[in-house]
């Protein structure tokens, strides 16, 4: 491992800055005359604000203003927007509990906090519904189709199969809750130029959203977001609270900083929606799948629909002639969800991979053999080959590493004192997407290379990966390469999401390096130098301090349309379950990534480890608990919303297949942020069954469920 003293070219380029505090996050910028905003939130779940008494707040020491729908400064873009999104401070309507309804701005954070407590709001309460599970059964609650129904072959074919499994799997709301709280600093200047320091996964997206809301040119909005303290998807959109802060800065003619509180993180910045899924599986007695039916319900909001790919995986992961899926969303009086790491697929994989395990058990087959037997050579949904897929090799490597041969098909076979030991496996899969990005390369006569792109780094190691790609292509050591990101004035790139950054921006880095090399070769030829000459010599000979190239990458290999491109993961876990207390400990983890060529081994491993930690949370501990009588969360803090602690996480063995995908991009690297978590919860649930004979179909698998199961 590299450290401060022995530098390794694979080290995270900003690792030292992050652990020494040099890295500056949005909330740390001190602008001259900075003021502080604190939000007042609704304490009812639905209804109408009848009055906001902000007299005491306005008169409190240091208070500069109280913004609400009563005095909202005009937001030009609101009128143009459709009705779907929450327009902050636009109407008197309350759509969910914890909705931001006023913003108090003062000269200090403490004064703003105090003044916010003085704002008195009166309401006309309306009837509301936040009860997701009850709503599934209640026909009078409206459900919307979240995706077109899909049928391949015969619908519900599992019902006529020799062996059938039909089960329901549920999971609660999960919140992203990165360590860094959400917020923004906005500085609207008199010339209608705005600078923001944001926590965002997409500086261009933030720029466009703010420009669109206030109807100003995108170039008038400068977004800075060099470091992000975790996102997991929640910073993929610019939330109403950010618009409110820009609004306040414009209105008060001062820079305004807003950092929301931990409890506000539960209602203002999205969540992974609760899900209720039914899986029907049919198979022949010798273990051939003959039918898959996957019906999913996801929680959504009444004011904006949120859908994700919950049922996608069921269409192509196993060879079955007959597959049908349905996906509905249930609009509730709650804030709108957003993509959370492994969006859709992490939810779907828990259900499908649990059901696969149930079927293997019903057939008395090793679940690994059952999966291998039903592993399709081609994508059965698209009827085309996979660009690359080394699932069988991944099974082999992972099972050997965890000691799968010790596993018995019969549950409760391994006992260590008061603990039952079990093994579980599950697959994860996610689209290996690639978008279009621009990168500027500046190759200098001092031997350095600067690369610039308006992409983001929420932690996966974007700069590190890009540096390694360029280093290899240009034959320049990584410490001579700088990758600049998190600045909206740089060449445009898409938001960091969907495991696509390395593929998308990396391709552009590849292309710009190729272009720079061509220019150097041209210059070398023109100055009668050898074609292999070092670029420093070539630039010097030509009296050039630097050359620059900006390249927009092509979106895809033209051949890509003939292939299905996915990243895969196989998670193996060993669990120990206490016989008397129901406590589950994950005691061994082997996660195998089949995500093409690994460009940055250290940060890639780190991603997989992080996914396993998130997976333990999803499987065992994480649940945002809502009291449906009030529509309010009762565990909206880090003491009661349990993310795993170190003691919950064993050593994580990460194995990469590390074989290039020939289609996806020039690096041969497929994305891997999502597959690190997708499937993990299923592996744990399957291991708990193997240990105890108890099938827990409701996440998280807390001691009470195991004990009473």
């Amino acid at each position: 491992m590299g450290n401060l003293f022995f530098k390794d070219e694979n080290d995270r380029v900003d690792g030292v800055d992050k652990v020494t505090g040099k890295a500056k996050y949005f909330a740390e910028y001190q602008l001259p005359g900075l003021t502080y905003g604190v939000l007042v939130t609704s304490t009812i779940t639905k209804g109408k604000i009848t009055a906001i008494d902000s007299k005491a707040a306005s008169g409190a020491p240091g208070v500069l203003g109280v913004l609400s729908h009563l005095n909202k400064p005009s937001v030009a873009g609101y009128e143009a927007e459709g009705g779907a999104k929450l327009k902050i401070f636009y109407t008197d309507q309350v759509l969910f509990n914890g909705q931001p309804i006023a913003l108090v701005v003062a000269d200090t954070f403490e004064r703003a906090t105090f003044a916010a407590s003085l704002v008195k709001v009166t309401y006309e309460k309306g009837a509301f519904n936040t009860d997701f599970e009850k709503s599934i059964k209640d026909a009078s609650v409206k459900k919307l189709q979240g995706a077109a129904p899909y049928v391949r072959g015969v619908e519900n074919a599992y019902k006529t199969a020799e062996v059938q499994v039909e089960q329901t799997y549920v999971m609660p709301v999960e919140t992203h809750n990165p360590m860094e709280l959400h917020g923004i600093i906005a500085d609207w200047r008199p010339n209608d130029q705005v600078t923001v320091y944001a926590k965002t996964q997409g500086v261009k997206a933030t720029q466009n959203t703010i420009a669109g809301a206030f109807k100003i040119p995108a170039e008038s909005v400068q977004v800075n977001s060099e470091f992000v303290g975790g996102g997991f998807g929640m910073a993929l959109r610019t939330w109403p609270l950010e618009i409110a802060t820009v609004m306040a800065s414009k209105h008060l003619k001062k820079p305004v900083k807003l950092v929301i509180t931990r409890d506000q993180m539960f209602t203002m910045v999205g969540n992974r929606p609760a899900a209720h899924q039914k899986i029907g599986l049919g198979a022949t007695k010798d273990g051939k799948i003959t039918g898959i039916t996957h019906t999913a319900f996801g929680q959504s909001s009444t004011y904006e629909n949120f859908t994700e790919g919950v049922v996608n995986m069921s269409k192509f992961m196993y060879s079955s002639e007959n597959v049908n899926t349905n996906y509905y969303i249930v609009p509730l009086d709650m804030s709108v969800p957003i993509w959370m790491r492994g969006p859709g697929e992490a939810t779907g994989a828990f259900a499908l991979e649990s059901a696969i395990d149930e079927m293997a058990h019903a057939l008395d087959m090793d679940p690994l053999d059952f999966r291998i037997k039903n592993d399709p050579e081609k994508d059965p949904a698209q009827n085309r080959p996979f660009s690359s897929k080394y699932i069988k090799e991944a099974y082999k490597l992972g099972s050997a590493k965890i000691g799968w041969d010790k596993r018995k098909n019969k549950p409760r076979s391994i006992v260590e004192g008061s603990w039952n030991v079990g093994y579980g496996v599950s697959i994860g899969v996610f689209n290996a997407g690639r978008g279009r990005a621009s990168v500027k390369g500046i190759l200098k006569a001092d031997g350095t290379l600067v690369l610039q792109s308006a992409t983001s780094d929420i932690g996966p190691g974007t700069g590190t990966g890009m540096g390694l790609i360029a280093s290899k292509l240009m034959n320049i050591p990584t410490d001579k390469i700088t990758f600049e990101l998190g600045d909206s004035s740089l060449p445009p790139a898409p938001s960091q999401g969907g495991s696509a950054t390395l593929s998308t921006v990396g391709s552009a880095v590849n292309d710009v390096c190729v272009a720079l090399k061509a220019t150097i070769a041209e210059l070398a030829a023109n100055s009668n130098m050898d074609a292999t000459s070092n670029f420093v010599d070539v630039l010097k000979k030509n009296n050039l301090p630097m050359i620059e190239k900006t390249i927009q990458s092509s979106q895809n290999n033209p051949d890509a349309k003939n292939y299905s491109m996915y990243s895969f993961s196989i998670h193996f876990v060993q669990v120990k379950v206490h016989q008397l207390t129901g406590v589950v400990k994950v005691s061994k983890i082997v996660s195998v990534g089949d995500s093409g060529k690994i460009v940055s081994p250290k940060t890639a491993r780190s991603q997989m480890v992080g996914g396993a930690v998130g997976g333990i949370g999803m499987a065992l501990t994480e649940e945002a608990i809502l009291d449906n009588r009030y529509g309010r969360y009762v565990n909206n803090n880090f003491a009661d919303y349990h993310v795993p602690v170190h003691a919950d996480v064993p050593e994580v063995d990460v194995i990469f297949i590390d074989k290039p995908d020939p289609i996806v991009n020039p690096m041969g690297a497929k994305g891997m942020g999502e597959i690190a978590i997708i499937g993990f919860a299923g592996a744990v649930a399957n291991a708990v069954f193997n240990a105890t004979g108890k099938r827990i179909r409701s996440l998280p698998i807390t001691p009470d469920k195991v004990l009473m199961g």
Binding site: R629, V634, V645, A647, P703, D704
Partner: protein, 327 residues
Amino acid sequence: MINFQYLRTTVVKTALGLVSKDPKATFIAGGTNLVDLMKRGVTAPEKLIDINHLPLKQIELKNNILHIGALVSNSALAENAIVAAKFPLLMLALQSGASAQLRNVATVGGNMMQRTRCGYFYDTTMPCNKREPGTGCGAIGGYNRMHAIFGTSASCIAVHPSDMCVGLAALDAQVVIAGTKGERKINFVDFHRLAGTTPEKDNNLQKGELIVRLEIPVNNLNKHIHYLKVRDRSSYAFALVSVAAALEIKDGSITNVRLAMGGVAHKPWRLTTAEAFLKGKTATPANFEEAAKLAMKDAKGFGENDFKLKLAPNSIIEALTIAKSKA
């Protein structure tokens, strides 16, 4: 902000005078709970008397009684050599509490004074008889997975969150309390209260009184001991159920026994009936099971916490089994 006065003294008598005279004054030590309560608007003292500089930080063994100053930090107490040798049950209970960072700051007295972690108590928009008498109990009929099964009342089913206190309840500790009129001593098990009709009162400390030290008589319960904490994650989580178990075994028979539970009542819950049953019996699984069964008499679930009716006796059996197995 809500202004408050902050005063600091190095003299116990001065501290007592400052708080006893002023209804809006309160002591602050580690502040790990009080500061949260102030931030959430659950409490708003107008005067904070910082007692961190009072001379109450000694741990001494005198005449076979361990004296623990009220300002000893949880981590200092857990790391103390006398505690490790003579009261390992207390050490284990301390180590199970909160997180290392919190234990470094939290004091013995503060640990005893901490309020419940019931979510309804902390959310000032929800009903809670403990925070605002007369508003009702949010947890009854609501989210009560973490709540009490023993000694509950119609007005409150909150639990006391401490681990340390469960260990102390098992060890026959006494609490030495100073007031303006002098010191008084009460048994640790009588320090905390059941909710009854006055859930706003967590304990029997009178206004202006200050915990100055604990006294624990040395016993032979330092070998067959265990503190079992069952929780949703391995650290920094409150107990679903916890058990402090201590046995003295001679020739296979139990000559002395202490049992207390956490996460099940408004106070650390001493299991006297189970203790009485076990005394003189052999340390067998059957007797442990019978003791656990006896301990559960009068337990009552509220829906989401019904699992505790099974988890609690199981945990008693497991704690006794592990305690017995320790050599």
